[in-house]
């Protein structure tokens, strides 16, 4: 299936290669570089490319290209999903996924890749299993290892690989037993010029952090499971139980994981937490434009809106922006033509406003379209759909764990057309 993997940085250097079958020369990447050249933006590189003898499937993440070479028919999503899993694993191990980190830990990364695929077919991709085979580096361990010549390679077969629950390792022990669940909802919306909602929906995800001793069996139930329309589960969730009782029943992996993602049924009207009044105009003459943006609270359920930012991708002809913000700061990046207004907390009494003038390249035609505004925001302790966890129970173990549920609402792809 997956023949080789090349890691390529932003500027087009191959800094790691791994082959699971026979070795394929680097020159195969030239086709990719050609496509990259053509695409201008790295995001626009087609994920699937065809070369005379190979097929290149790549993902672009964290400013890195993960480029895999395949020789025969294979579901492209299979490869893409796997490549993202590689990136996730690197992230999981080293805290971030970047060229520097990978170069610093090249041996560990290589060992990981060795374990993750056998003959191009995924072998162990479960974080719990991998961590038993190759321990993630900690400062303490790396010091000890250099002293003693010890290794970070586990010397036994991970129990998870063989046990009935491949995602959980055996013999987990904690002094503090705790299970935290974060219900995070994102609002995807498109508002048109006049402020009416073109499209809005809520996507949610439950992130869990479970540190429990032994083999706990958890059940999580919701007050209003009917809200949930479509969902995907971590493999640990017993699907039949959910089908029949709408209860999440599972033996959790150890550590952090995504328990489920869901989509809130589209029948419900989505409550948008903010409204935006904007006026961006470019004058026909004089190579300048005006910008005026005000943001106000709409349906915040009595909570404060935080972390509010507005991002505007200006037309290429906008040279500079001379603006004043009543709250927060703004920056205009001349190279990327991106205006970012960082507002922070939304104060309902005094609405934040950004206004001023934009100067355009002299002689250039007036931009056809006004730039769209991308909005990010956060509301703590609120799931905007109204979803509530009713209870969390644990079976199979004697102790009493510490339990916690946190809610958070964020703006996902929240776009205002102007």
């Amino acid at each position: 299936m997956i023949h080789s993997l090349f890691l390529i940085n932003h500027s087009g250097d191959i800094f790691l290669e791994k082959h699971w079958k026979s070795v394929i020369g680097r020159s195969v990447c030239d086709y990719f570089f050609e496509a990259k050249e053509k695409a201008v933006q790295p995001e626009n590189v087609p994920p699937v490319l065809q070369t005379p003898h190979h097929y290149l499937i790549s993902v672009y993440r964290d400013k890195l290209f993960f480029l895999s070479v395949v020789q025969t028919e294979v579901p492209p999503l299979f490869v893409i999903e796997f490549l993202h899993r590689v990136a996730d694993t690197v992230q999981d191990y080293f805290g971030e996924c970047s060229e520097g980190v990978i170069k610093d830990n090249v041996v560990t990364v290589y060992e990981l890749l060795e374990e993750m695929l056998d003959n191009g077919f995924p072998l162990a991709t479960e974080s719990n299993v991998l961590k038993e085979m190759i321990r993630p580096p900690t400062i303490l361990r790396s010091v000890v290892n250099t002293l003693t010549g010890g290794s970070n390679v586990g010397d036994t077969l991970p129990t998870g690989q063989l046990s009935s629950i491949p995602w959980r390792r055996a013999g987990v022990k904690y002094t503090n037993n705790e299970a935290y669940f974060d219900v995070i909802e994102e609002i995807d919306a498109i508002l048109d010029k006049s402020g009416t909602t073109v499209f809005a929906e809520i996507q949610g995800v439950i992130e869990a952090c479970v540190r429990l001793t032994g083999m706990p069996d958890l059940t999580l139930s919701f007050m209003n499971p009917r809200l949930l329309d479509d969902m995907s589960f971590h493999p640990c969730v017993r699907f039949k139980r959910w089908e029949s009782e709408r209860i999440l029943s599972f033996i959790p992996p150890d550590g952090n994981f995504t328990l489920m993602t869901y989509h809130v049924s589209s029948q419900n009207v989505v409550a948008l937490p903010v409204y935006v009044k904007q006026n961006i105009s470019f004058l026909e003459t004089g190579s300048c434009g005006r910008l005026d943006i005000t943001i106000g609270p709409k349906q915040t359920m009595g909570k404060t809106v935080e972390g509010l930012t507005v991002t505007v991708h200006m037309p290429k002809t906008v040279l500079s922006a001379n603006l004043t913000a009543t709250q927060g700061n703004y920056t205009y990046n001349l190279a990327t033509k991106v205006l970012v207004w960082d507002i922070g907390k939304l104060n309902p009494q005094k609405l934040p406003n950004l206004r001023g003038s934009l100067s355009l390249q002299a002689g250039a035609p007036r931009p056809e379209e006004n730039p769209a505004l991308d909005i990010t925001l956060k509301i703590q302790q609120l799931a905007i759909s109204g979803l509530k966890v009713s209870r969390l129970d644990m079976y199979g173990e004697k102790y009493k764990p510490f339990k916690g549920v946190k809610y958070l609402t964020k703006a996902g792809k929240f776009q205002v057309r102007t």
Partner: protein, 1113 residues
């Protein structure tokens, strides 16, 4: 360089001293040193370093005897490999460390080996023995990793070793090792495709594995090695369906796509012929019961195969997987296999995937685009999910646009057009242009909005952006072509704008329109031509061509006004730089300008140039993508990728459904995974005679423990585990049953007289067993979970009862006669030849179970008689002798359930085959357990077709309850590959296969001890396979050993002067290769078992079988 070098050697020196002193000093001092050391190693890694120097340095480190130095060196070597630098010259230094104890070091060496072994084949061979040793390690992890590396080393010379290792690992206790062996199959296949046949055998075996860990990997191997051997799937189909939910996610993808292909060949189409998809019956989807009923009512002729339904039902939960590849593969399965109205359930999940990474979106959108062409209704409710955001990347935007266009209909077109208006203004001009095309498509598809779209597009003509204008013109041109009647206004408008339009393509399009419809705009067209004549030389080629075109058309329609202009333009064109234009000019001139030379074409000029032209069809670029299976690479690229497997069309008539039947019809229970084939096989074994079971005990015990492990693996879902455990207990109960009867048997074989008695008593249970068989029959038909095991144990207990009471002497010859009476005429002659063995067979068959006339074992005393016989026969030469051991196990060839009343068992009589010396003799007992007589039983097609098989004569008629023994000869060519053939009756054909145990492929020979040693001396090295084995204490006597060995293999005993060494000799039947077995007893019930033969594959298989036999009492 010099500086670098000295620096480095200094650094290395310093580091080494540091290391040494660190070793000497105690831990307290280490922290500072280690920092220093780290700093030093870091400086070593400076990018400036040259290979040569770096490698010298590494070599020294590798050859040092400090573990930590070696490790550090290996890490750097791996670093080099990762960067793609060449480190091959370190091979000798690295390979020495392959047997190192340090696991991390070992792993790194493995990494290195796998990378460079292909280049340094000779040196790589040095490491092989390490892996071979590790393959026998008690730790499954080490076995697996040894196999992984061994199979990854791409050195052709070790192919036989790999083959052996794979075969052994495929039978390993640990499912993890078996999984690894499935991966190794693919590696070996890519290294040496000639091994295909043998590998298929292993695959077939592994397919029967019921561990969820193995399933995905073996199906992957199947797909890679023999995707066309769909027959291997039949028996495993239901098991795979049921296991699917518990298989790891990557395996799920592979299995689902394989099953998609399988289902397309095995089931008939659920799509009603010509029936359109009813977009409004979505409600029914969630109620599977009513839907099924409805289905049946609507199409009375179509009833979905329960196996087809099973697949659909068992894949559905996987739509909720977090793995996008799994969701996609289920979606494509439904698309290709489900009844049309059920496909809709995948919509939501696909739309959910659009929230995932960009690359995932790209693939999913491509697939949705293809689906939405055929089935608008599926995605229409989710139309808004395909709205474009300005932050989407270009290829995502275009795909979304494509889908929106596909989804457009009368009801939603206004919404979509409003959305398109926004897109047209996009800063991304390529996207804006694509939107215009999309508008054009909407306009042609939906006649209500054609005018609106046209007007909108005309407005865009005054756009400032050239690409937008150009695209609009092109689209307008196409639209006008479809309905040219009433649009002269638009043409006029375009003519007016002509001066402002600079994009050549757009100008050319307008000119073409003018020419085509010049009769509708009779005043404007000549004027445009006039203007063009002025600028002709400055225009682009494409525009020039259209000017010439326009001129020609005007000349034909309106020659009065344009004659001169045309001639002027033709003259300009004549001297143009571009030869295309010169050609065109010349052609046009000849065509339109009448001259004395002009030919017949001139008359038709008008008809040629102004012929009505078909309107271009605006359609989706995804129109033809549905020829590829969704979700495949080929679909994504829209070209056939190498290795793409065409999805076959539905068969018109469903192939035989019964091929998927496993022995006992499993309870049709909705979610009951793990009631699989493998288990059925286990219970099958209980049909075997007691002796056989004794032998199998170890096997079934071990598999029992496996059972429990896999049962715990499935115990997450309650219902499964229950079933599992009940089966388990069933097994253990029957186990105990058989062991008791087994021990009885043992004691009975003590003396010959007793043996005789036994013979008689055994007869009784056999007779009795008939009605019992009928009983269990009805049970099975009644679909209940029959426990053949329990019935067999009950029978065996009844056997022991009769043992005590039924001491009457029913004469065995009489019984024999009865038997032979039943047998049909044509067989008589054959029978007479083997009367001796048959006598044994029939008399001995204890048949403690209901099903089979059972084989028996000779008592050890009788055996020793025979032994003596063969001893007395010692001849100077090596000679093939008669078998020193009677018939052994009986195997089932055809179960009476699958055979519709015809059942067949076979056994190996261990006699030289009458027909051809290279054939193995097989005796088949055919029994008719139906209530009507069967006619014309014969052998049909065989597979492989080259199979050398001697058939028995056709049996004209077999009465109910009668049975007949026939003999056949099969040339197995010294391989344990199964011989597949068809057993036919007048009405039916049944595919059956005979798989010989390796021991049956030999013929016994006698030879002297000297000859033995001499021959053994010739077969050393690669031809020798040996292992130290553990012996059960009961087996230490020479008689017991002979008995065990002879039960496994058809070999002859070689007399031995040494008490502690036992020798056996045989020849392979087909090729006559010598097989020498010697067993040297060591202290404390262990022994060295050595097998010398050229056939190393057979040797290892024989070794395994012998080892197993000798280890049990």
């Amino acid at each position: 360089m010099d500086v670098g070098f000295s620096l480095r050697s200094e650094a290395v020196g310093a580091m080494r001293t540091a290391m040494v002193s660190a070793e000497n000093l105690q831990l307290t001092l280490k922290p500072e040193l280690s920092q220093e050391e780290q700093a030093l190693t870091h400086s070593n890694r400076s990018p400036k370093e040259t290979h040569k120097v770096g490698n010298e340095d590494l070599k020294e480190m590798l050859e040092s005897n400090k573990e930590s130095l070696k490790l550090e060196a290996m890490k750097r070597v791996v670093g080099l490999i990762a960067k793609g630098k060449n480190a091959s010259e370190l091979f000798p230094a690295v390979v020495k460390n392959v047997a190192n104890k340090n696991i991390e070091l070992k792993k790194l060496v493995y990494v290195y080996l796998v990378r460079y072994a292909e280049e340094q084949q000779d040196l790589a061979l040095l490491s092989i023995s390490t892996f071979q040793r590790a393959l026998k390690d008690p730790n499954q992890f080490i076995r697996a990793s040894a196999l992984r590396v061994l199979s990854s080393i791409r050195v052709p010379i070790i192919v036989p070793i790999m083959m052996l290792a794979i075969k052994e690992s495929a039978a390993d206790m640990s499912p993890y090792v078996r999984k690894t062996s499935a991966h190794a199959i693919q590696k070996l296949y890519s290294l040496d495709p000639d091994q295909k046949e043998q590998l298929i055998e292993v695959i077939e075996k592994l397919l029967k594995d019921k561990s969820t860990l193995v399933a995905g990997s073996v199906v992957m191997a199947f797909e890679e090695v023999c995707p066309d051997r769909i027959d291997l799937i039949h028996k495993n189909y239901r098991k795979l369906c049921n296991l699917l939910v518990d298989v790891e996610e990557w395996g799920q993808v592979v299995i689902i796509s394989m099953l998609t292909r399988y289902a397309r060949t095995q089931f008939i189409s659920p799509w009603k012929e010509g029936a359109m998809f009813d977009e409004n019956n979505e409600k029914a989807f969630y109620d599977s019961d009513s839907e099924e009923k409805k289905d049946q009512m609507e199409a009375k002729t179509y009833i979905m195969d329960p196996d087809h339904r099973l697949l659909l039902r068992n894949t559905k939960p996987l739509l909720q997987s977090r793995n996008t590849a799994v969701v996609m593969s289920v979606a494509q399965l439904y698309w290709h296999l489900a009844p049309k109205h059920e496909v809709t359930i995948v919509t939501k999940s696909l739309v959910r995937l659009l929230r995932s990474h960009r690359e995932v979106q790209y693939i999913v959108l491509q697939n949705i685009a293809t689906m939405s062409i055929q089935r608008k209704g599926m995605f229409e409710p989710f139309m808004k999910s395909f709205y474009v955001r300005s932050t989407d990347s270009t290829h995502i935007k275009t795909l979304k646009l494509e889908i929106l266009t596909n989804l457009a209909n009368e009801a939603n077109i206004s919404t979509i057009l409003r959305e398109f208006q926004t897109y047209v203004k996009s800063q991304d001009k390529a996207f804006a242009a694509a939107t215009i095309q999309a508008i054009g498509r909407c306009a042609t598809n939906i006649s209500e909005v054609t005018d609106t779209c046209l007007n909108g597009l005309v407005l865009l003509l005054s756009n400032r952006d050239e690409t937008v204008v150009a695209e609009s013109v092109v689209v307008i041109k196409k639209l006008l072509q479809t309905q040219p009647t009433q649009h002269s206004e638009i043409i006029k408008h375009m003519a007016k704008l002509f001066d402002n339009i600079t994009v050549p393509m757009a100008r050319a399009s307008i000119l073409w329109l003018m020419g085509e419809y010049c009769e509708r705009v009779p005043k404007i067209a000549p004027d445009v031509l006039r203007k063009m004549a002025k600028t002709f030389t400055a225009e682009e080629d494409i525009v020039k061509l259209q000017i010439v075109n326009l001129a020609a058309k005007l000349y034909l329609t309106n020659s009065k006004q344009t004659k001169l202009l045309t001639q002027y333009i033709l003259n300009l064109g004549k001297y143009d730089q571009n030869y295309d234009i010169r050609d065109r000019t010349r052609f046009i001139r000849q065509l339109i300008v009448p001259s004395e030379k002009s030919g017949a074409l001139n008359k038709y000029a008008r008809r040629i140039l102004l012929a009505p032209k078909p309107a271009p069809v605006l359609e989706s670029a995804f129109k033809d993508r549905d020829r590829y299976q969704l979700g495949t690479l080929s679909h994504s690229l829209n070209t056939k990728a190498s290795g793409y497997q065409e999805l076959s069309d539905w068969p018109a008539v469903a192939p035989d459904q019964s091929v998927r039947n496993v022995e006992v019809i499993e309870p049709v229970k909705e979610w009951a995974p793990l009631v699989g084939k493998a288990k059925q096989r286990k219970s099958d074994e209980k049909f075997y005679s007691d002796e056989e079971e004794e032998k199998e005990e170890e096997g079934s015990d071990s598999s029992g423990s496996e059972d429990s492990s896999s049962s715990s693996s499935s115990s997450e879902s309650g219902s499964e585990s229950e079933e599992e455990s009940s089966e388990e207990s069933e097994k253990t109960s029957s186990d105990s049953g058989k062991s008791s009867s087994g021990s009885e048997q043992e004691s009975s074989s003590e003396s010959e007289s007793q043996q005789k008695k036994k013979k008689k008593t055994k007869k009784a249970p056999q007779k009795k067993s008939k009605p019992a068989a009928a009983d269990s029959d009805s049970d099975e038909n009644g679909n209940g979970p029959v426990a053949p095991a329990s019935s067999s144990s009950a029978d065996s207990s009844s056997a022991s009862e009769t043992d005590s009471e039924d001491d009457s002497d029913s004469d065995s010859p009489a019984v024999q006669k009865k038997k032979s009476d039943v047998k049909s005429k044509p067989k008589v002659e054959v029978k007479s030849k083997k009367e001796v063995s048959l006598l044994d067979l029939d008399d001995f068959s204890p048949a403690p179970t209901t099903k089979a006339p059972k084989s028996a074992v000779l008592s050890s005393s009788l055996l020793s008689d025979l032994e003596g016989l063969s001893l007395s026969n010692v001849s100077p030469a090596i000679q093939v002798t008669t078998p020193s051991f009677g018939p052994v196990k009986t195997y089932e060839l055809l179960h009476h359930m699958t055979g519709k009343g015809l059942s067949a068992k076979y056994h190996f009589p261990r006699q030289p085959c009458l027909y051809q010396p290279s054939m193995v003799a097989v005796q088949v007992v055919l029994t008719n357990s139906s209530d009507h007589s069967l006619e014309e039983i014969h052998i049909g097609d065989r597979n492989p077709a080259s199979l050398n098989l001697h058939c028995f004569n056709t049996i004209e008629r077999l009465e109910p309850e009668a049975s007949v023994t026939v003999s056949m000869g099969i040339d197995f060519s010294d391989s344990t590959q199964a011989a597949n053939f068809q057993l036919c009756t007048k009405d039916d054909q049944f595919s059956v296969s005979i798989q010989p145990a390796v021991g049956e492929l030999f013929m016994p020979i006698t030879m002297t001890e000297q000859d033995f040693s001499k021959e053994q001396g010739k077969l050393l090295g690669m031809n020798e396979t040996s292992e130290t084995i553990a012996m059960a204490t009961a087996n230490t006597s020479s008689q017991a050993i002979s008995k065990q060995v002879l039960s496994v293999a058809n070999v002859g005993v070689v007399s031995s002067t040494q008490n502690n060494i036992h020798r056996f000799a045989g020849r392979t039947v087909s090729s006559g290769a010598l097989v020498l077995v010697s067993l040297e007893m060591k202290e404390s019930s262990s022994a060295l078992l050595t097998i010398n033969t050229e056939k190393s594959v057979m040797a290892s298989m024989l070794l395994r079988d012998l080892k197993q036999a000798l280890a049990q009492a």
